[in-house]
Symmetry: C2
Subunit: 171 residues, 2 copies
Amino acid sequence: MNVQPLDSEGAPLRIGELAKRAGVTTRTLRYWEEFGLVKPTDHLCSGERRYLPAELERVAHIRELQELLGLTLAEIRIVLESEDAVERARSARLAGASRTRRLALIDDAIEAHSRLIERMDDRLARIAVFRDEWLDRGERMRVRSAELRSEVDAARRDRPTVGSPRTSRRA
Amino acid sequence: MNVQPLDSEGAPLRIGELAKRAGVTTRTLRYWEEFGLVKPTDHLCSGERRYLPAELERVAHIRELQELLGLTLAEIRIVLESEDAVERARSARLAGASRTRRLALIDDAIEAHSRLIERMDDRLARIAVFRDEWLDRGERMRVRSAELRSEVDAARRDRPTVGSPRTSRRA
DNA sequence: GCGGTAGTTGACGTTAACGTCAACTGTTCG
DNA sequence: CGAACAGTTGACGTTAACGTCAACTACCGC
C-alpha cells in the first residue's frame, strides 16, 4: 500500500527490501510466489531471490485487487495471467509466433480485462448507493442531535448549571 | 443480496424463511446471532427463533458491510451497535433518560457514522483511481488489437484464406 | 573466526467465517 | 400414527491466507 519510491533505479531487490517497501511480509511474498502471483527474476546460486523494482508495483497491484475488489488469490492469478498476455504477445512476436496467435492472446486479455472493469463498476455503484443511504441516515441523526442540543441548552438557561466555577454558590 | 419483498407484512419469519429470502444459510444466521449481530425477536417456548421481517434488511445490511467494505464481523458489530444507538436513544426517552444522556448516545452514533462514511469514500476513491488506470490499459490493448487485426486482414487479402468455400481455388 | 543479520526450505499453527453432521424435538399431513 | 420436514444445540471439519518456528546457509564487519 505504502509504496516508497526512494531509489527507483534498476538495482535488484532482496526479498526483505521488497517486502518492506511494499508493506507486506516476506512470508506473503513466498506464499504468493508458490501461488504463481509473483516471481523473482532469478534465484541466485545461493538460492536467494532477487526482484526487479518493477515487482513493487505488481505487489501493490495484487494487494489492491485483494482488498479493494475482494478477489481471492486464485482470481487474482487469472487476472494477472491475462494481464501478462500482453507481455507474452510481445515476446511471442520475438519468438516468431503468427500474428493471428498474438491477436488471440491480446483479445483474451481484453476479454478478462473488461470483466474486471465490470466488477469494479458494480462495486463502485453498490458502494455509492450504500453510501447515499447512509448519508441521509446521518442527516436525520444530525437533525435529531440538533433538536436535542437546543432542548438541553434551553433547559440549561432555565436552571443554570451547577458545574460552572463562575456560578457563585455562596449567595 | 437478493432480498425478495414478497409479503412485507409483519408476520414473523422462521429462520429458514429469513435465510432463504436474505440469501444466507441458517448456520450463518445462528453464527451471527452468537456474535451479536442479529437477534430473533423471541425464542419461542419450543426454542424456535422468530424474526421480524425487518431483520431482512439488517441481514442484507451486514452482508454489504462485509462484502462491499470488507469489514470483519467484529467491526460490523461496532457499526451496528452505534447504529442502534439511535434506537436506544428513542427507548431511553421512553425509559425517562435525561436529554443529555440521549444526546450523548446520538452523538456517538454520528461519530461512528462519519467514520464509516469516510471509509466508504476512501474505498470509492481508490477503486475509482484503480479503475481509471485500468481503463487506459484497456485502451492501449484495444489499439494494439486493432493494429494486429488490420495486419492480419491485410495478409489475408494478399494471400486469400484457404478455409473459405467462396474463394474459388480453381483459378 | 565469530557474532549478527538476512536469506532458504519445511512443517506445523492460527484465525475468521462459516460448513457439516449427529442426535434430538416439535409440527403437520395423508 | 407415522413419515417427512423444519428447527435446536453441540461438536468437529474446512478453507484461505497467511504466521511462526526450527534448522540450516551465506555474507559482513571487527
